[in-house]
């Protein structure tokens, strides 16, 4: 038997075993197996948390979103077809559950801003907006001004540097639509950043 054939067979066996294991794992998730949920969390929480933070812009709201994603996972997994990785699927679950958390975080941010603008509080000096942290905060504020679809497209494509194909799969929209959303999001963000006086 040729070596290449052997390699192909080994590869095929490996892929099949992986699929069987994944199928078993998905079945356990569907049954609401706590151990399976814990495994999924341990394997993917970092990616989901990072996305949630970037999208929501607030640690507490992001933690709430992460919590929600993994709690609804046993029910949501029923729609998992296996055509994308579980991590991608988890991100799409997060996108579907983000609306409420994004709004709540934006409201809290707005309230904090107003509080900071009150007399006696420090004002945001454009001269100070040079550090990385400040720059990130400004961008989060600007993101609040975007519609959720555009916000999701920007975070996934630009911040997380995912391909438009992958983003299209996550948000369940055509690639062209994702690119259009990204274009409008960037256009709006540029003008908002200028208005903020960031240099």
């Amino acid at each position: 038997m040729a070596l290449s054939q052997l390699v192909t067979m080994t590869d095929t066996a490996f892929v099949e075993r992986e699929r069987a294991l994944e199928g078993d794992f998905v079945a356990r998730l569907m049954l609401g197996d706590r151990a399976a949920v814990a495994e999924a969390y341990d394997a993917h929480h970092s990616a989901v948390r990072a996305f949630a933070k970037r999208l929501v812009g607030e640690t507490a709201a992001a933690e709430d979103l992460v919590h929600e994603v993994f709690v609804v996972l046993p029910r949501a997994i029923k729609s998992y077809r296996g055509d994308a990785s579980l991590r991608t699927f988890l991100i799409s679950v997060a996108v579907n559950h983000a609306r409420h958390h994004v709004r709540a975080a934006a409201r809290r941010r707005y309230a904090m801003e107003r509080y900071e603008r009150e007399p006696g509080r420090g004002t945001s000096d454009p001269e100070l907006l040079t550090g990385q942290r400040e720059l990130a905060q400004v961008l989060e504020r600007c993101l609040d001004a975007l519609p959720l679809d555009q916000r999701v497209a920007f975070v996934l494509c630009e911040v997380e540097e995912r391909s438009s194909t992958e983003v299209a799969r996550i948000v369940g929209a055509p690639e062209g639509t994702v690119r259009t959303r990204l274009f409008h999001a960037k256009k709006k963000l540029r003008s908002l950043l200028e208005e903020e006086g960031v240099r």
Partner: protein, 263 residues
């Protein structure tokens, strides 16, 4: 310039939110607790629903088997006063004609039949002259109606016209309609007798066979063929059709020896 600014801001956001897993352990505990709670809730729901569903199914089966459900249905229907619009299902107490042979004890004359309608046969029979048979038959109601509604109803003397129920075309229905026309509209007893015989030949176990047999017996009475009429009425009097037309048949048979002479 602005592009550069946006790129810088994007990079800043990416860096700021990378690898920040503080709170990860706490969130994990929350998730595990929530998943457990969900599972317990689901189990509790099933533990409650399954016995309820099983009880309902068992009770329904018992009710259907024992007839309790039907009686309860009738009570409800009566209480709501909607008998007219929703005729209850045929009772199990009214046996259907057992078989063609059982129904027609005598070879020559099967048995009576039909919906002689509201005509209280009881009143007519005893009277010597058969004409008193108040042929009640409202001819119209059958128009364009199939001879469904097997009427296993009790032998109340009020006999209704066979319930006109729209259904798929029945080839024997035309025969029934023709006999009905001859009997109740034209009052041509000989033709009606032939008509009932034709119907019974075509559908000895048809939905309207009992009614056809009873009407046939009435025709025999009209035609002074008393012996045959007696034979035709006997299954009804003996309760082969439950209580359907039993009293009337018994009274007619009792009256026969006295002689039913003229039409």
């Amino acid at each position: 310039m602005t592009d550069d600014l946006l790129a810088r801001a994007t990079r800043a956001l990416r860096e700021e939110t990378r690898g920040d897993d503080t709170g990860a352990r706490f969130t994990r505990s929350r998730i595990m607790a929530s998943v457990h709670e969900d599972r317990v809730k689901r189990r509790t729901r099933w533990a409650f629903l399954i016995p309820v569903a099983a009880t309902f199914v068992a009770a329904s089966a018992f009710g259907a088997a024992s007839g309790t459900a039907h009686r309860a249905f009738e009570v409800v229907v009566r209480a709501l006063g909607i008998h007219a619009s929703t005729p209850p299902a045929p009772r199990t107490s009214a046996p259907r004609p057992v078989s063609a042979s059982a129904v027609a004890p005598a070879a020559r004359s099967p048995s009576p039949s039909v919906v002689d309608t509201a005509a209280p046969v009881v009143n007519e029979a005893p009277a010597p002259p058969p004409p008193p048979l108040a042929e009640p038959a409202p001819p119209a109601p059958l128009a364009a109606v199939a001879p469904a509604a097997p009427k296993t109803q009790p032998a109340t003397s009020s006999g209704h016209e066979p319930a006109p129920v729209a259904s798929a075309p029945d080839p024997t229905f035309e025969l029934y309609k023709a006999a009905h026309q001859a009997h109740f509209v034209d009052r041509d007893w000989a033709r009606a007798l032939g008509g009932w015989d034709a119907y019974l030949k075509a559908a000895p176990r048809g939905a309207l066979a009992p009614e056809a047999r009873y009407n046939r017996a009435l025709c025999l009475l009209r035609l002074h063929r008393n012996d045959e009429a007696r034979v035709a009425l006997r299954p009804f009097a003996d309760g082969h059709y439950g209580t359907y037309r039993r009293e009337e048949a018994q009274k007619l048979i009792e009256a026969l020896p006295a002689g039913i002479d003229g039409p």
